[in-house]
């Protein structure tokens, strides 16, 4: 096992208060990608 994630980073990753805000932020960010829509890639002939 090699410690690749620093103690501070791990604290941030697992702190419920910080992660609650991250949860809200990620939900919105993901929704933007998802709701960003989709479409074709070919030009109309």
């Amino acid at each position: 096992m090699t410690q690749r994630i620093s103690k501070t980073k791990r604290f941030i990753m697992m702190n419920p208060v910080i992660q609650f805000f991250k949860y809200i932020y990620l939900s919105i960010k993901i929704l933007v990608v998802v709701a960003g829509g989709h479409g074709g890639t070919r030009n109309k002939v």
């Binding site: 096992m1 090699t2 410690q3 690749r4 994630i5 941030i12 990753m13 697992m14 702190n15 419920p16 992660q19 609650f20 991250k22 949860y23 990620l26 939900s27 960010k29 993901i30 929704l31 933007v32 990608v33 998802v34 709701a35 960003g36 989709h38 479409g39 074709g40 890639t41 070919r42 109309k44 002939v45």
Partner: protein, 512 residues
């Protein structure tokens, strides 16, 4: 009712040429048959039912009486969820919503009918109840093939869920079985046994690396929870050339203020968790506790284990198709999976483009047949194909995860509704080259101790022309995050999608 198809140039996929005129004569009713009730089949059925008036018939044919939320199988496989929490019976829901249901499996396709039946039909075989083993010709005006993949365990010698200490988590039944195997091993380790766990892909051309990735991180966390981690060696084995390829050629993603390659991110996670890895490995044979594999260098090696979870190859179901005269026309409908509006011209990797990928999932020969989700034949892989020194192809097949499966099913349903309402072109399009995907990979279960790796990718199929400097993807929309919030997100998705699948009030507001 009569459906008239305008003659089209088979090689010309333009929407103009795809004109379909639906003539509603004396019977103003359309019958839409959906094969499969997985993510794509169920999404298509629910949207069709919501948007079509009662005079139109929606019928689902599926051998499984339950709907299952497959992504949560990972948690069934570590004993943190019961199967009952991820599934529900379809028949009562369909009855309530006026959707027909036949617990049967499609056997053959007859898109022109036959000498006795003038309408197109699918031959289905009932799998349960009084009608078990009986066949029926189920006629249709529109057919949606949403049968997903065949879990082709038979393509790897000795790979069978629960045999040779190797398991699968691809269905809830398999996942339950895997948990029993894992639990037994954990008990033995608690008594002092040292053990080896092997998780990854069980074939040189497997896909769905993401599911195996989730499972290995969850298993690793459970070993820590049971206080036995020290005694267990955990190893990842996959056909990926680099870690974090996921069948999508890897990705460049923003991670906090950094820009990182997915292989660097996954390497960081694996090293931090003490997980070993073997990559570029095509598993070709499983014996009791031994996985045989070939490497890209052409070497033949083995890896021993006490518990393994290996994702099999996914293949088409081997359906046959026949014309009116009973001639075999399978090659018009299938290329392993179902042929749709993709460009299947064989080309070298360097010449692949996003334009090769389908937009409407309509079969070019029979325009009232569609195949969303995993059921459509991809034009090619997404990851760069690689061959071992012995000539064995060892690289991931293209994944089609839950989100694109849902999106493509919804757009197919919307196009069918449009045609029924008299539109002459297919206006709803969704190429995987112009679609984003969110992949929330569970990295451990628990409200305070859990973790998740949240990754979004846009587009799914890299567009190297549009985004030449960022490995074919848009950076702001392609990002990764690791932490407890990821677990909460995955859990939220579990509840939200089961709510949506149960068609509870305002279900359609939840995006696919």
């Amino acid at each position: 009712m009569q459906i008239i198809f305008h003659q089209t140039d088979a090689n010309h996929f333009s929407m103009k040429c795809n004109a379909i005129i639906l003539q509603l004569n004396n019977q103003p009713m359309a019958k839409i048959v959906i094969l499969g009730a997985g993510i794509s089949g169920h999404v298509a059925a629910s949207h069709l039912r919501r948007k079509l008036s009662k005079q139109h018939e929606v019928v689902v044919v599926s051998p499984n009486s339950n709907y299952q939320w497959i992504p949560s199988n990972i948690w069934v496989g570590i004993g943190r969820m019961k199967s009952e929490q991820i599934l529900f019976p379809l028949e009562p829901l369909y009855k309530k919503k006026n959707i027909g249901f036949k617990q049967a499996k499609a056997v053959s396709f007859h898109p022109e009918g036959d000498k006795e039946v003038t309408k197109p039909y699918v031959m289905v075989e009932y799998v349960k109840g009084e009608d078990k083993n009986n066949f029926e010709k189920v006629t249709y005006d529109f057919l949606i093939n949403a049968t997903g993949p065949k879990l082709a365990f038979d393509m790897t010698e000795g790979l069978e869920p629960g045999k040779n200490k190797a398991y699968s988590v691809c269905t809830y039944g398999h996942a339950e079985h895997a948990w029993h195997g894992l639990k037994e091993l954990i008990e033995e380790v608690k008594k002092g046994k040292k053990a080896k766990i092997l998780i990854g892909t069980g074939h040189a051309k497997s896909t769905c690396q993401g599911a195996a990735f989730e499972y290995i991180l969850n298993v690793e966390q459970e070993l820590r929870r049971h206080d036995v981690r020290e005694l267990v060696e955990v190893t990842w084995i996959a056909n990926e050339y680099q870690l974090g390829d996921f069948g999508m050629d890897g990705m460049l993603l923003s991670y906090g203020s950094n820009i990182m390659k997915s292989n660097e991110m996954i390497e960081m996670i694996f090293e931090d968790r003490g997980i070993n890895w073997i990559i570029g490995a095509g598993v070709n044979k499983i014996e009791d506790g031994v996985a045989h594999y070939e490497t890209l260098d052409g070497e033949y090696k083995t890896e021993t284990y006490d518990f393994a979870m290996l994702i099999p190859a996914f293949s088409g179901h081997g359906f046959k198709a026949y014309d009116k005269e009973d001639n075999d026309i399978t090659e018009k409908l299938f290329k392993g999976f179902m042929i749709v509006d993709a460009d299947y011209t064989p080309r070298p990797y360097e010449e692949w483009t996003v334009q090769d990928w389908p937009e409407t999932y309509q079969n070019p020969s029979y325009k009232n047949i569609f195949a969303p989700g995993i059921a459509f034949a991809p034009p090619h892989a997404i990851s760069k194909p690689r061959v071992s020194k012995n000539g064995t192809a060892i690289s991931p097949a293209p994944p089609r995860t839950g989100m694109p499966s849902g999106i493509t099913a919804k757009l197919v349903a919307e196009n069918i509704v449009d045609i029924i309402n008299g539109k002459k072109t297919l206006n709803h399009k969704g190429s995987m080259g112009n679609m984003g995907a969110a992949c929330i990979a569970s990295a451990g279960f628990g409200m305070t101790k859990g973790s998740g790796v949240s990754i979004t990718t846009y587009p799914i199929v890299p567009d190297y022309v549009k985004y030449p400097d960022t490995q074919g993807r848009k950076l702001g929309k392609t990002f990764g995050e690791i932490g407890l919030a990821g677990h909460w997100l995955k859990l939220t998705l579990h509840y939200a999608f089961i709510y949506k699948a149960k068609m509870k009030p305002f279900w359609w507001l939840i995006p696919e």
